[in-house]
Point group: C2
Chain length 489, copies 2
């Protein structure tokens, strides 16, 4: 309810009677759009109490509004502002259009961000969504984590837990994440070198915010994770692009850049690269580490998809080798957990972590500490590891099936390589099948291709899209590929 | 488990026998710290499977490690790396110290952020925490919102809901927030003028990130919300401070600044100001709106605490007056909801909202869409409004009690004014009671003063702290004030 007690102004010294003053105030509020058409006014008794006048005064005021056709009475419901107002145009000011004026470049001094190219997701149920590579909701340990969450909410330690989240995240989860990373990736770190974030994206944003100034030269691959590229553009970085092949980024090209330019930082997804799913080979990793030690540039190692490995032959992260603290290691629990709950981490030198924690507080005071503690319990009891193993089996067989169906039905139109992990396939369509057309035709046929698509501007040459197979059942995979076959026919 | 299959390197052409190569690899991993002291190695059969050699080869390798005293056998448990290693110093490289080197100013080109001054919260139960002004967990509608959450997770629409969060938040919650703001604050906006965030803090960060460039001149009050000030410092803004009294900021000072300087933006908490809890008077609001229309500067109106009103006489936000789109309106649901779940909103011109949505995706891909939808249900069914009313009654009586106790016991040592809403009291200690001392003495006596404290550097003159009364029971309020009385005695 609107604060009528402050909105309705009654002046004791006015020539106008009190009921007329009230009526005029209400009319003015209706004209300004503050009381919207269709709104029920408070009952006469309630309104009288709110603005401290006799009830009869309100009855007189409402009658005035009725006579002037601003409100109507509905039996047993009360007084309603009529839906079609006689004069809705406000007179002296126009709050309804406050926010309709467009802004100029003076308002946005920096790099203007591109609008989303995300397709609309229809809500009817018999359409299939192929996402960017998300896990299957049904396989996520949602019930388990919510059970721990509920128990924590009832725990006598809740107050302490809630008060503890401001220093880079839950202490228990920082400890558990350390053990998790040391055991699975050989990082050999301690909790003072870790900060929790809302997923890998926030970790990248924070690392770039701390390290990159306008004019700094940085290196990305072509193609590379779009949302990382946008962060660097906004930070005013000068971006160099190097090529990549089936062994990952071209380290010789990188070496040439390092020799010629003053390179501050390399951003890299060495496992199941986004978007191409390629993994950087062991040989190139060794070479890259030697370059770090020689040229002392920073690396942001974005390892968001490390845990989804099918061949059981993971390569250790670059950050587990010797790099003198120059590799910021970033990962994510988001895809291992409950749907729509986001949680990631950033590993780096103690000095940088301290700054990152202070910076994160400015961006987003704290995370969901209770959920963080619940996850710590899942890690410490080995349930997260078991969950990862179990779901990898399902995802591997879905990946096999998806690749077989794509070869059989679309082999003439696309190029792709079966990934050895991760939750998506990188599908490059041949030139004669422009991706924009395929996406719109597929949508019309009930298939929403919502994965990252590379088909605009500089990315046009890739004509590729991520095909997230992991969240699709066998039946849906058959249907999705069948629709695609029909679309390119 | 570590990925031994890729860590243990066997070269077929080596002069060394396979079992010696395996033993050497493992020793090297132990030396590097990748296999930590106390770790159990995989059983011989499992290890043989992992690296594709005969089990006897592994037995030979493990025997070599036993002989060299790198590992020990534990009956029925297996092979464990010994806890006190003969030579833990790594030889060729030192991954354990990767992150221990300190960084220089070259690494952090911008404003270095201050470390947290947050006090440690002891975990034993018989201490009392006085926070910055948080709601009482027991009064939050946690069960209600979790019930809706669980139903949404089971709903057939879940996939559509999850896919819909990338465009400024859940569509349902944007619509519900619009109705909520129009009904309670007369904003008269449509959903295209709103974006959801993780609380008011993220909304401020995004608004400043879009509007403020290095060198821009902006206005804060003295004192003002510390975390907003830090955002402006990081953005490179030139900060002017104006004074405030019991009616809020000094508008005449502001007018002088606007006349003399090229002011881009004013940040303002007009209801229950942080930290002082003062509300900007109606007269000054009218004057401020006329200044906006005359000088065309931006205002960030941070109304994080609007919903907690005791006197039931709220004043409408500045944003509901006519300002030509120059007032970014920011608010928060965080304090109305489940503990540790953060959610806020930003209202502004359509153009700015589009940029803000794109910027938010770079910072934090998306929010917890399921929780957002659950909140929309609470708003649409009127349960949020009822919850706000109910808890305000409790908070008002706690506020009364807190103020009475403070006057009675601390009246000679502090200045304060009873707030007409919000969840904290602004306590200014007289000069002879330096705040730092009071905080540390209170902590020793079991009272953690965790509210925002203004007693360092320029803030020293305020010598004040926020006393969050809302989350304390009557009993705790009595105890807290009694400890404070004893501390200043």
């Amino acid at each position: 309810m609107l604060p009528y007690q402050t909105l309705v102004v009654i002046e004791e010294k006015s020539d106008l009677s009190v009921y007329r003053q009230i009526a005029n105030s209400l009319i003015s509020l209706i004209q300004q759009g503050k009381i919207a058409p269709g709104t029920f006014l408070p009952g006469t008794r309630q309104m009288a109490g709110l603005i401290h006048v006799h009830r009869n005064t309100i009855i007189n005021a409402y009658n005035e509004l009725l006579v002037q056709n601003w409100i109507e009475t509905l039996p047993r419901k009360g007084y309603r502002v009529i839906l079609e107002l006689p004069l809705v145009k406000p007179r002296s000011f126009r709050p309804g259009t406050n926010y309709d004026e467009s802004l100029n470049d003076n308002d946005f001094p920096r790099h203007r961000l591109p609008q989303s190219g995300l397709p609309d997701i229809p809500s009817h149920i018999d359409r299939i969504i192929v996402n960017d590579g998300l896990p299957d909701i049904d396989l996520m340990p949602f019930k388990e984590i919510m059970k721990e969450y509920r128990m924590l909410v009832k725990s006598p330690e809740l107050e302490t837990i809630l008060a503890s989240g401001d220093n880079g995240g839950s202490v228990k989860l920082k400890n558990a994440t350390c053990r998790f990373l040391n055991n699975s990736r050989g990082l050999n770190i301690t909790p003072d070198k870790i900060m929790l974030t809302r997923g890998a994206q926030m970790a990248i944003f924070i690392a770039v915010g701390l390290l990159v100034s306008p004019g700094d030269e940085i290196v990305l691959s072509d193609p590379d994770y779009i949302m990382a590229g946008e962060i660097f553009k906004r930070a005013g970085a000068v971006i160099h692009r190097i090529t990549a092949d089936d062994d990952g980024i071209n380290i010789d090209e990188l070496e040439q850049l390092l020799s010629r330019k003053n390179i501050k930082l390399l951003y890299l997804v060495p496992h199941h690269h986004h978007p191409t799913t390629v993994t950087l080979s062991i040989g190139r990793r060794a070479k890259l580490l030697s370059l770090v030690n020689r040229f002392k540039f920073w690396i942001i190692e974005d390892d968001f998809d490390y845990d989804y490995q099918f061949k059981n032959k993971p390569i250790l992260p670059l950050a587990s080798g010797w790099h003198g603290g120059k590799i910021i290691y970033i990962g994510s629990f988001t895809k291992l957990l409950a749907p729509s709950f986001r949680l990631g981490y950033l590993v780096g030198p103690v000095d940088l972590i301290k700054q990152a924690i202070a910076y994160r507080r400015l961006i987003d005071t704290r995370g969901d500490v209770i959920m963080e503690e619940a996850l710590a319990i899942l890690i410490d009891t080995g349930r997260l590891d078991r969950h990862i193993k179990r779901s990898n089996k399902t995802y591997e067989s879905r990946c096999e099936l998806a690749c077989r169906l794509i070869s059989e039905s679309l082999g003439h139109a696309v190029q792709f390589k079966k990934p050895d992990g991760g939750l998506a396939i990188w599908l490059k369509f041949n030139e004669c099948y422009p991706l924009a057309k395929i996406i719109s035709k597929a949508a019309a046929a009930g298939l929403v291709l919502a994965g990252s698509a590379y088909h605009i501007g500089e990315d046009k040459k890739h004509n590729g899209i991520r095909f997230g197979f992991a969240s699709l059942s066998e039946d849906e995979l058959y249907k999705a590929v069948a629709i695609l076959k029909q679309v390119i026919a």
